[in-house]
Amino acid sequence: MGAKTARPNREMPVAVDVEGGVISARDVKAAREVATDAMTEREFQRLANQITDQARDEDASLTRAARDRDRATPRDASQVDSARLRGDLPAEGEFRRALSGRQRKIRSAIKNQVMASAPASQHKAIRTMLTEEDAREWRRINGGLHVAAGDTQKLGDGDRAKVQRLDRAIQSYERLNDRTHKVYVAVELPDNHRDVRGLRDLPANLRPGSAVAFDQFTLTRHNLHETPGHDSDRHVVFEVVTSRGMYLGRSDSVEDTTHLLPRGMQFEIASADYATYETRSGGFGERLVLQLRER
């Protein structure tokens, strides 16, 4: 029995990770080790994808459709021409009001326009990914995008096509949209992490100045009080102001301000501040919010 083998020292990557900051959302030790390697690799991957996408865009021999099909992440189709409709991240102390009925109606009208003109294939993609009760497809495809560092070309043909159909539905919305959106999404901290109430409670890699990537599609809410996890210290809430994504909420009295962000978004954490927000009953809620600025 070769009980004593010359194994490489596998503790090294973990030692490197200590200064880099705990990767908050992974399991204790093994995941940390894996994540260090995987993150470095995926960072390169993401950068390589970006460079390849840019180079392909300069290749005049390809049609626009071919260039779009081969892209790793979707093109940003949004624009906000009016300075009045272009929002920025709220300043410290700014009250976060719920989205007004008028704003919901405007967004809903564009959603209905997109829905009416969408081909059957996009309707099917939206149904299986988002509206059906069975969430397996959403989890499976989003999980695949994570593994691939956001590069849809690494998925199987069927999944790639579905992802790109959802991309195109979002882009249709982005083309018609004329304003920015302020949206929220929460992330649950792992059990081994303490509750977050102060700056020092934040995972080191989620402090202001750090960067965050969403390789997957992300469901957000325009209303902070509607965002799952808004009332919990076990969750970190991100606030994003962007012209990207598609409103999927309602315009009527039912409270639903869901907004789907495209995959492949990259942000920098601009600040971590306490924010006061309007609750469902019209009262006040207050919580720590991490503001993300698009990069």
């Binding site: 200064e19 880099g20 900051g21 908050s24 959302a25 995926r42 993401r46 102390g93 009250f95 009001r97 959603k111 209905n112 829905m115 309707h123 939206i126 988002l130 509206t131 009760e133 969430a135 959403w138 499976r140 989003n142 994570h146 929460a186 992330v187 649950e188 792992p190 102060g198 700056l199 020092r200 934040l202 080191a204 890699n205 989620l206 402090r207 202001p208 100045g209 750090s210 960067a211 965050v212 990537a213 969403f214 390789d215 997957q216 992300t218 469901l219 799952p228 996890g229 210290d233 969750h235 991100f238 999927l248 990259q266 501040d273 306490y274 006061t276 006040f284 207050e286 919580r287 720590l288």
Partner: protein
Amino acid sequence: MTSSEWLVHPNRSELGPDKPGRNGHYRPIRDARARLPVETCEARIALPRTMSRLADRDGSVTFAGGSWLFVVGAARTFARTYTDVDVPPPFGFKDRGQWWWWDSTTSEESILDGPDAAGYVRKYLERLFPGMPITLSDTQ
């Protein structure tokens, strides 16, 4: 085609761990080792012995941040979570160009920009932590 067709099923955004395939899953992509938080404002509250499990070794709890608004926000969250005190409204916020304060007063400029900022903060903290000694420090 009805307008209710593209409505996201609630289970897509239900709460869950930060894992691949879950909504809101993020991946931090830059080393942030140099970014230590800047905490210029600090409030230290000496907690009674009954709350010692929540206290630091010296029996107090400290709320610190880059501004007094951060400190009172953290303190209020703590009080709401761990004490029976009748928690007052949030310290203050700016809405439509005007500041609204917890004691129902309003102002054009933030009272926290003035020389009495620490005094206002102390008054609020005394309401949150009645009878507990409070120490404030500001190194701005």
